[in-house]
Symmetry: D2
Subunit: 425 residues, 4 copies
């Protein structure tokens, strides 16, 4: 193993490392007695050592062997500051590729290999089959439907009369609010502001174009500034910077209806021949599976999601690409539609809320950065925002591939069974 490639400094008890000295022995004792906190280790030791010592401490405390966790190759200096406190190593998620898939977006154009980090067997294979169908069909059209990250502070008003005065004030001072909001960021632009009243609670939902960032931090900082301004001017009391009408990391109709982050729609037309050849089923069956499962079944279940397994693809690509994995659930609100045409089907996925970015967050962690590079979207785009939109478009195409493949499989199985039934009859 060459030096520069090796996961240096974080395998257990490396020979001759010389770290296992007095200092560390003392640190262990301090941790044990509580005079030193686990999270303070980075103050005492270089990051790789802090991680190792912490891991060893956890091993002792829990009796677990954490050897594989302790072997990693990513550069941790930045990670311990920006991405993860109390770090003890990494978890390695198997990374597969699906594709190539031909994407015809406004930003992403060309053939892409999709990075999918997953432990769910068959997922990569399934997406791969969908990519093949789409590419053979001439590619997936993709369009951005929405582009704006939101944050909605909540205020307490003294009465409903006061609540109305607050929202009136806000709507009358949109320009000042925009100026104040944008003073906190060099990139973001405030694009919308809506107000909601629920009794004495007032919600101000601010929306920003956050360019290549997913933008939640940017928007939170801007919202703090705006919230202070509103509280000062109206006498409303700020209760929480996030009032859940944002609505972050919770499935919510406000997001599916109005959008949050990037919203995308992707579609492809498949001929009868292609359906038969790649998916081993027919147009009518594909349509019926989608109709009874994704539309009627989801409706009957009181669901906010009308798809087969969109969040599988979103989760796998989010993890691979350094996106916030807690947002993967947003993929679950996808709506998949299959229109029956004379000459085949038109399959589409509509993803109202995909909070993605190519700068900030986990995008700078080494492996994740490499995955973004695979898609040609690492870092800032030109113009700013283009890379994040590109990523959203590619994920949209990936979801289309995944939906197509699973619905096709269900349909083929169903056909198979129908045949069996006939045979028995």
């Amino acid at each position: 193993m060459t030096d520069d490639a090796g996961p240096r400094g974080n395998t257990d008890r490396e020979a001759g490392s010389g770290q296992d000295t007095e200092k560390e022995t003392k640190i262990h004792a301090q941790l044990k007695e509580g005079s030193l906190k686990l999270y303070e280790l980075e103050k005492e030791l270089p990051a790789p050592d802090a991680i190792r010592v912490r891991r060893e401490y956890i091993e002792k405390e829990t009796g677990a062997n954490l050897r594989k966790v302790g072997i990693f190759s990513i550069d941790v200096e930045r990670v311990v500051k920006r991405n993860c406190e109390n770090m003890i190593g990494t978890v390695q998620i198997p990374l597969g590729v699906a594709g190539p898939i031909l994407v015809k977006g406004e930003n992403a154009q060309g053939h892409y290999y999709l990075p999918l980090a997953t432990t769910e067997g068959a997922l990569v294979a399934s997406v791969n089959r969908g990519c093949s169908a789409i590419t053979k069909a001439g590619g997936a059209d993709v369009r951005i439907l929405h582009d704006g990250m939101t944050r909605a502070p909540v205020f307490a008003a003294r009465s409903i009369v006061h609540a109305k005065e607050v929202t009136d004030w806000v709507m009358a001072h949109r320009d000042e609010i925009k100026t104040a909001a944008e003073s906190t960021t060099s990139h973001g632009k405030m694009t919308d502001i809506t107000t909601y009243i629920a009794g004495t609670s007032v919600f101000i939902r601010l929306e920003f174009d956050t360019k290549d960032a997913m933008g939640m931090n940017m928007v939170t900082i801007a919202s703090a500034k705006v919230a202070e301004m509103i509280a000062h001017a109206t006498g409303a009391q700020l209760i929480a910077l996030s009032g859940n009408m944002c609505d972050d990391k919770k499935p919510a109709a406000i997001n599916t209806i109005m959008g949050r982050g990037r919203g995308v729609v992707a579609g492809v037309k498949l001929s009868h021949e292609l359906i038969q050849k790649v998916l081993k089923t027919d147009a009518k069956t594909l349509h019926e599976v989608n109709y009874r499962k994704n539309l009627i079944g989801s409706a009957r279940a009181g669901s906010l999601g009308f798809n087969a397994h969109a969040s599988n693809i979103v989760a796998a690509m989010f993890i691979a690409c350094g996106q916030d994995a807690a947002h993967a659930g947003d993929g679950g609100t996808c709506m998949t539609t299959i229109d029956l045409l004379d000459d085949g089907v038109y399959v589409a996925v509509t993803l109202p809320t995909l909070p993605v970015g190519t700068v900030g967050g986990g995008t700078g962690v080494d492996c994740q950065h490499e995955c973004l590079n695979m898609l040609g979207v690492a870092g800032s785009g030109n113009p700013p925002g283009k890379n994040a939109k590109k990523l959203a478009e590619i994920i949209g195409a990936g979801v289309l591939a995944g939906e197509l493949s699973l619905i096709g499989a269900l349909a083929a199985q169903h056909l198979a069974r129908a045949h069996q039934q006939l045979g028995r009859g």
Copy 2:
């Protein structure tokens, strides 16, 4: 670095490996011309080599350097068969620990360090603070509310009369259905069956005790058997083995109301003193933040989730512990409540649907297995099911810690601002 610890065989171009021979050159050519598929590499080469060759091919095709992706320590023999097709390496997710947290469940009892795989800065620190508050308060009570994985095939009936006959037949043959279902599994037990009609669509929702497995595969196989039986007996046509009333990986009221997988509730009482000391706020403010944000805000947003950021903790623990990351969104349907008491507050989180397991899926991947070991829940429990319930309880406690900490932070911030406002006034 000792031999057995090293990520041997998958760093690029290892000196003297000798693999880069004629055979591989030929394979590259075949891949390029399409006569060999990327997914066929494991048939030609040992898994580590197949992964490396595939990665090199992707590097060439995309121009991306995937060096860090290519360095990993997990054993890939099993992974390429069970967890990930078309593998090119791994993505390393930073792993932090929070805790110890004292958990007082029916299954999990004691102090635990929580493994959190995340790239979201401040998350581990936040959960850590919550763990501290909970442990100081005497620990988190946790109870299992529900234990049953579901699958709901959808059938087409000829008419609504036929649809009703199908559901009548099913309810009259529960015992035979149970026998048939359980004949497909050595562990699972069918625990419930409910039927739903939507026009001519009939949904049969089967629920199983899947012991230590998350159970979706087990349940799918059993459902296939049952579905065939129903179709044969009633003449209804099976449309899809999953009819979205399961409802898997989509936010759905049916899951939040009736539960899916393990449902858990966790709670802790905090005294005024502790609130002040650890969270730097007071009982009334904590209550008000939760009331206006998590209850009123979420309600006003048409949300199925009434929490601050539960899916952050669920996602981070799911990824660390080899759970299906696409289920992390289920954490978003958590309901957090803060009751105001004379002597403090009672904080609780109710998670109606946590699909977790300690065997199968990603739980056998090395790093993930180590994380499960940290919690003492790797593999089958004694009795079977105990480990999965333990894991669910620990995650429930972790979510409680996360909610407490973020709501506390919002509340403290709000107090700070209130003070600022007063100062200005």
Copy 3:
């Protein structure tokens, strides 16, 4: 006009009635000064006079002429005790009929004229057209999907541990609870009990077969008995007899999924010829309107209802038949499906929650009783429950007629427009 038919005693200032005497003058003065309350008039005067005096008082206070309100023919003795306090007269709602419609239910079988009380022009005509199509097609099949009225008291537990103990106690004492519940009613039977926990809040949802009554009162009384028993045995504190998991008069997924009151499904097959002749459109267009409007549109809107205007028919029939008009919104959760067949379409409506009864509530008011008689369902059925189910089935068929007609009209219009567009092209 014959004496017994006349709205005697409540027209204004009838000649020679002699009531306008000293006593009433005194009463007016007492009302004015507040020593007598408006609702106390029935203690002083016979019901018709009390109504008249109250109306005259309101006329004076508001300056409004309420002459038409004051003319009515219903017997008010019972009404003022059971249906309406502070009565000043009646509001006359125009009553139209649609039909005959052939209904093929399990309880309702034959041709029916549907009574529709409405002020919405075109509604009766529209339903009438739907009835015609259905009857020509051989009638509407209807089935009862669910039969059970619910009430869900909410309790406060001391902790989540206590909450779990409460639900455990309830599930372990189902038989005693059933006995206690049924001791409060001569007709009702407890058919199900489910429990839900949300933090320290415990919800016990009780379901009853209420025979021919809509049953909410019956169920509330039984729930009071059960709630007391649970509180006494477990130490949980009863917070409200109705805890909104019932869920009464609010649109809620728990009702659409699990049913409340009577749930019905109605369906009919229409041939291509009939679609063309009666609805002036074709199968494919009918299907597409339903697909894009009722399924995709409603899903995109975050709706719990997937229909065109089901609540129009439910409201009009509920008002005509003395049902609780505040339940009419439950009709809005209907799901309408149109399956495309080789030889036409199969149209169905699924109404998960129709709280109807033929005894109690407004069913005994004279006009309403007459409307129930039109359908042959007034009073108790034989066996008990049959009349209420019959009514539910007939309303289900009526909704089917209404949906068919409006969707047909939209489809025909769309065709017309398509033609216009072609003409222009």
Copy 4:
């Protein structure tokens, strides 16, 4: 009975009316044989006679006596043309009054008696008690949150690319669309336009200020014009003038979030003394009932409504005031909040969607017109729109009264029970 007050011409078999002649005998025969349709009677006879003959025919066909249905006093000439086809009489709904209630809106200011048409015993008494509490507390503040009726046609696009072109075209031609829309109405003003894509389905949601009309017809006519324009310009195919993102008469998050018709919020502060005196409970208990029932219970039930029984009041006032009763379900989406203050509670109801009007629809029917007169809101307001807003504000105050009273009753009962429990302990 004086002539002009009597329900002339529609009681059964009036002596000497002379109508029962040959002509009618012939008509009966024609109806029987089907050569004359029931709905054609108004062409043959004056409205009162047509109604009578039709009723007599229904009586014969069904065997039901419809005497009370046949006695009415409203003028039917206009009703048979505008409000109800196939009319056979009326249904009389008992009308009670609650109040006076002091309303402090922006449009409605003063004391009002609320007309409530209902057959649900105790409702009027309950609202009356709430009115008393509110008036004693100094009146209900009310504000209009939203004013705009919507219609959302749905179009089919050829692909998602085409779908995006359609929405782009619409947003680029807002001014022309507004001009076209407003050309169809003398009163309405287009106030907003939003677009939604779901695969190949495109929804254009148009919002109008409809002044004193509820406005659904006005908006539908304007939407037809706009839809034609869009279809012509973009080549998208109009599928249905109403695409269910309106969303009319279905419970939908889009309406609760964005509003439809008039949205109102009403609130009142109650002192400890008043709570004790009028509601026989205390602030803390009131708060807790609302917290556990209306917020937590509804959330746990997957409900779009967070109230106790708002639709009871909305239904009773809608029926009394000639509003569309099928909209009463919209009241069910009300959110009721009770904030605990040092000196009492602040109670508020937020009704996001109240589709009301004072002209058109059922507002011109005699009894209903009288009820509107009781509130001083019949006909067009000055300026236009003022009467409809006034009505919305008064209904909002009425809902506040109803909520306060029922929550108070639940709270008092709960206290009583708590006492009982103590006694037993």
